[in-house]
């Protein structure tokens, strides 16, 4: 794991430099959702037995933590194709496991940063949210899974255009469809069944359950972590492949 600290420290330094920019950009989308769907509809309707704004907020945490942790994919691409910084990692005596761990931990950190912003917004909007260890465990599973997926995609794509295509065809649909802003119970059985296979769906379920103070859905949480471990291993393989 020699060298892991170098990669992770770079992430910390970058986050420190961009702190205010990130704070603002991570706040805008959830803020708009909360204003439009939360204030606009939130208190007038209930979904799955809770006010819509209370239902929406954990979904926003799932959505935002996913997209922010997956965003390291674009960062890695810029480091690879534009700044050539990734070459510096590859030239150093650092194992593929250390590179993957450093980058994934960076992604997890960004995902948690985005989640904390939404939790703060929740207090500002007077939305009750249960802060407990299960919530953080569920967020950890979600950010770990999507940071690991980001490693795979960033090693496979050949240009920034490919990266943006992946975002448009995989991440954006998942962000909207996996029970983040509406209940999957509203969908036809076959569609809900398919969507539940996507990794964000169990993550959303686990985050929502813990945020609403419901019992933790352990199967969903376990499947998120299992998915994350598979992606992480594939990420290491992808880094090895990208060395050539």
């Amino acid at each position: 794991m020699r060298g892991f600290l170098g990669i992770f420290s770079r992430e910390i330094m970058i986050i420190r430099k961009r702190f205010f920019k990130m704070l603002i950009s991570f706040s805008v989308t959830p803020l708009l959702y909360l204003i439009a769907f939360g204030w606009g509809l939130g208190h007038k309707m209930t979904v799955e037995g809770v006010p819509y704004i209370s239902f929406l907020l954990p979904g926003l945490i799932a959505m935002s933590s996913m997209s922010r942790s997956f965003a390291i994919s674009s960062e890695i691409n810029i480091a690879r194709f534009y700044w050539h910084i990734f070459e510096e990692f590859q030239a150093a005596p650092v194992s593929n496991l250390a590179i993957a761990s450093g980058e994934v931990l960076g992604g997890i950190l960004r995902g948690f940063f985005a989640s904390f912003i939404i939790i703060i917004l929740a207090f500002l909007f007077h939305v009750k949210i249960h802060l407990n260890v299960f919530l953080f465990l569920a967020i950890l599973g979600n950010t770990f899974t999507f940071s690991s997926l980001a490693i795979i995609t960033s090693m496979l794509v050949r240009s920034h255009a490919d990266q943006s295509m992946l975002n448009n065809f995989i991440i954006t649909p998942m962000a909207f469809l996996c029970g983040t802003v509406f209940s999957l119970k509203a969908l036809p059985g076959w569609a809900a069944g398919f969507i539940q296979l996507l990794p964000l769906s169990p993550a959303t379920k686990a985050i929502r359950a813990s945020a609403l103070g419901h019992p933790m859905p352990w199967i969903a949480t376990g499947s998120v972590f299992a998915c994350g471990i598979v992606f992480f291993i594939l990420g290491i393989v992808a880094i090895r492949g990208a060395r050539e």
Partner: protein, 279 residues
């Protein structure tokens, strides 16, 4: 220090490197010359474990670069052709990350950072963001970074590309000092003057094959110390002579414009390949 045996690299239909065999001694300043696309960068990428060879072996300081790449990497410092600094970070932060990648402790990194930033003349700029640096400053910072973990071998892939004449000469002075301090330097370049000025020995690479290997003076002597350039209807033609008298007699006998001058490494390359190095 560097032992390369029959190294070959193939990319699908293209053979970038053909059975390269080369031995470089500790403390040597070695120049690797050749036109663009000759296979210089491929060689550096293989020796720094950024690419795998199709066949052959290479050892750095006794470490096999294929069997024990992480051990071999600890012995090398790399200054790649493209600037690969983190532009958002300061010079000091760039060096901190590099040190951590090489498993150095923070206190040693701080100590070494002061030393090498001072060495390359960037200590007053240690806290500035790299994006504000000039091209020459970025190159010097890359050298400081490559030296931070005190490598035994320094690989430099076209380090003076994009620098003006003054920046290039400053860098040459720096490289000479690094070599005097005991580092083995493997320098790829297509600037003939650079290799002639700096290197103890040069290897000339053409289309993936090593076509000459010796001291610059020996290569020039073997080709002919004096050159007569004849500007005829078919273009420029260079003729090689071992002494000035024979060259003078030849030049005087020509009807076309003929100029007499000392030979250089560029002439050696032209004689060996029929093309210019920068072609």
């Amino acid at each position: 220090m560097i032992e390369i045996e029959n190294l070959t690299k193939k990319y699908k239909k293209i053979t970038a490197l053909t059975r390269l065999t080369l031995h470089i001694k500790a403390g040597e300043f070695f120049g690797y010359l050749g036109p663009n696309g000759a296979g210089k960068t491929t060689t550096v990428k293989i020796l720094t474990s950024l690419a795998k060879p199709s066949s052959g072996t290479a050892r750095i300081g006794g470490c096999d670069i294929i069997a024990t790449p992480l051990e071999a990497k600890k012995l090398t410092g790399v200054v790649p052709q493209a600037i690969n600094l983190d532009m958002e970070l300061s010079a000091r932060e760039n060096l901190m990350i590099h040190g951590l990648l090489y498993g150095m402790s923070r206190s040693v990194i701080k100590e070494q950072t002061e030393k090498w930033l001072d060495f390359v003349g960037l200590l007053p700029h240690a806290r500035r963001a790299v994006r504000a640096f000039s091209g020459g400053m970025k190159r010097r910072l890359m050298i400081a970074r490559a030296l931070l973990h005190t490598p035994a071998v320094l690989f430099m892939d076209e380090p003076t590309v994009g620098l003006d004449a003054s920046g290039r000469r400053n860098l040459w002075g720096l490289l000479k000092r690094i070599n005097k301090e005991g580092a083995t330097i493997f320098l790829t370049t297509h600037y003939i003057e650079e290799a002639e000025t700096l290197c103890d020995r040069v290897g000339i690479l053409d289309q993936g094959a090593l076509i000459a290997l010796d001291k610059p003076t020996a290569l020039i002597a073997a080709a002919g110390k004096v050159v007569v350039d004849v500007y005829g209807d078919t273009g420029l033609q260079s003729h090689f002579f071992q002494d000035r008298r024979a060259a003078g007699t030849f030049a005087a006998s020509r009807r076309e414009t003929a100029t007499l001058r000392d030979a250089n490494l560029e002439d050696v390359f032209v004689k060996l390949t029929g093309r210019r190095v920068t072609a």
